[in-house]
Subunit: 342 residues, 2 copies
DNA sequence: TTGTATGCGTTATCAT
DNA sequence: ATGATAACGCATACAA
């Protein structure tokens, strides 16, 4: 009925509490035979540690750092509010959250920040940054130093990060494609694909997923080459100007990364919104408003609250040497229409 | 830096630990003035109780009962697996989960089970059942007895349940309608609406939401009266037979409650699936397979893992007299296509 | 009405 | 190499 405790182990193995603790926490100074006896007892009575009591005795606090891109991205803004919200939750009773803003396109600065964090300054790191050799190496160094690292939103596939907290971007692109294909009339037509920068791995994956599904399932739809606005509103306006001048028969727009504000503004100005199917990523105050106004047809997104809570839970589990509950940490690709807006 | 403890309160207020504890837990036997002094101290130093330590000292265990409809519903099956999964999670370290299966259409049995649970047998109840006066009263009795109650999946709006864990079914119906309207060609046509029973409040709400959005936004689409199969495969086959005989121009099917197995089987038999837009509720092994097979175009669902974890967290918070984190407990209306299947 | 002392399950600091 | 014992933050039986 009641869970066995360290006392039960001690009694069962005929040793003292201190010895039990030593083997439980893999501390030295115990004879091999004794270790075996204790481990046997643990298995025999089915002991499982009360992590809460352990943290109490240890006065454990988890210091986690979130490395986020600087700049005024709306999406990062929603992550920041989610972090703020997590601070007030039960979840963060013993965790201290620190946010580091780092220049996105400076891999060296990124790596330096990561490495600096490694010197016992924090107990775990969540990093949202484009893939780069520098970051990969820094993550490896952190991990070797015993600091758990999770990749947030954008994976660091070749590094040995402990976990990726985010969605499958290929599948997200395919999801967008399915919606685009089905929202468009059967006659199809050319679809514009815009991105802030196609260099980012997640943009590439989304584009790839989008193209491949359109290609196989909606032959009447034709994907135009990716236009890159580099998060510059002026550039975005000019790019769209050119695109629509070149082809007046465009039927849809897929925006696969940030910069939705500029995109929507530009489209609105052209008075083209009503006749286009427009699909974008990430639910922010801006895309929410556009969806409500009927300027956006659908949003593909990931729940940022879930994102940060999951990162925290995973880091904590790694610190404790626990397993995670996979299904709880699986971030879902969400489709948001006006009707199911949270 | 470190959080203040009961000792700090005691020192600040010039009283003993026991007195602090008495006012913290609203126990009698403390002079009004003393209470005020302690409360002042609590505010002054910004004390917030360490719930983990409290539970440890108290050897607290939370016994929660989940009342679920009996029968072999696939949806209830996924809830059961979610409960099973929760049992292995960190979340249930101190919680014991009990499942009661009750006949859905016997309000008296339902109420009796609820009332029986009230006699200090459990610390909280999650109930998934159709609304009825009997259940409403039983919930009220439980609450008066100090047992927190949450309504699961189906709300008990007139009872004073502590919380509703589930989705807005009107919005879910509207979401289905938006998808139906946009997936159908502009020419529209008649759409079949099938339910196991239209008496259930959630079915009614979905139907209402579906109809109202179709009515205002997709005038070319025409919703036929709801067909009730009462979870009987034979009846479902017969009903569909009649419906298609009466109107050969049906373009879509909206299944707003259970019984998707029978529906899909019947449609497949008629060879009509390829030319219909079919939208159903709840992701189960069955609807998942149908979606993958292209027999279903979209699924509207709610994450059952989230559902049970949320119910547990909310009940626990109520037991502790804590507030919940609203955003974490908001169940989302999820749209699942083949591409974003979890 | 208020205070003292002990215990919850675990860790960690001393001794031995 | 091992054991006794005092914390951790909180609750509570028992005294006063």
């Amino acid at each position: 009925m009641v869970r066995p405790t360290v006392h039960d182990i001690a009694r069962h193995a005929g040793v003292s509490l201190a010895t039990v603790d030593r083997v439980l926490n893999a501390r030295p100074g115990v004879r091999k035979q004794t270790v075996a006896r204790v481990e046997e007892a643990i298995r025999a009575i089915g002991y499982v540690r009360d992590q809460g009591a352990a943290n109490l005795a240890r006065r454990r606090v988890y210091r986690f750092a979130f490395l986020l891109p600087d700049g005024q991205s709306r999406f990062v803004g929603t992550i920041l509010s989610a972090l703020e919200e997590a601070r007030e939750s039960q979840l963060t009773d013993r965790v201290m959250l620190e946010v580091c803003h780092v220049p996105v396109h400076d891999p060296h600065a990124l790596a330096a920040t990561l490495v600096a964090l490694g010197a016992g300054k924090v107990d775990g790191v969540a990093v949202m940054a484009p893939e780069s050799p520098q970051v990969r190496d820094a993550v490896a160094r952190l991990r070797r130093g015993g600091t758990p690292v999770v990749a947030l939103v954008a994976d660091q596939p070749q590094s040995d990060r402990d976990h990726f907290v985010g969605i499958d971007n290929d599948a997200a692109g395919r999801t967008a494609a399915r919606l685009m294909g089905r929202f468009l009339p059967p006659s199809g037509g050319p679809v514009l694909v815009v991105a802030s920068s196609i260099r980012a791995r997640d943009s590439l994956e989304r584009r790839f997923g989008f193209d491949s599904l359109i290609g196989t399932e909606f032959p009447a739809v034709h994907c135009l080459p990716t236009l890159e606005a580099h998060d510059d509103p002026q550039r975005m306006a000019a790019i769209l100007q050119n695109a629509f001048a070149a082809r007046s028969d465009i039927v849809g727009v897929y925006s696969l990364s940030t910069g939705n504000g500029a995109l929507i503004d530009a489209l609105r100005e052209k008075g083209r919104l009503a006749r286009l199917v427009v699909i974008a990523h990430e639910l922010t105050p801006l895309t929410r408003a556009a969806l409500l106004a009927g300027e956006l047809d659908a949003i593909i997104t990931q729940n940022t609250g879930h994102l940060v809570r999951s990162a925290i839970r995973v880091l904590q589990a790694r610190c404790d040497g626990r397993e995670i509950l996979a299904s709880q940490e699986r971030i879902r690709i969400e489709i948001i229409l006006r009707e199911n807006l949270p």
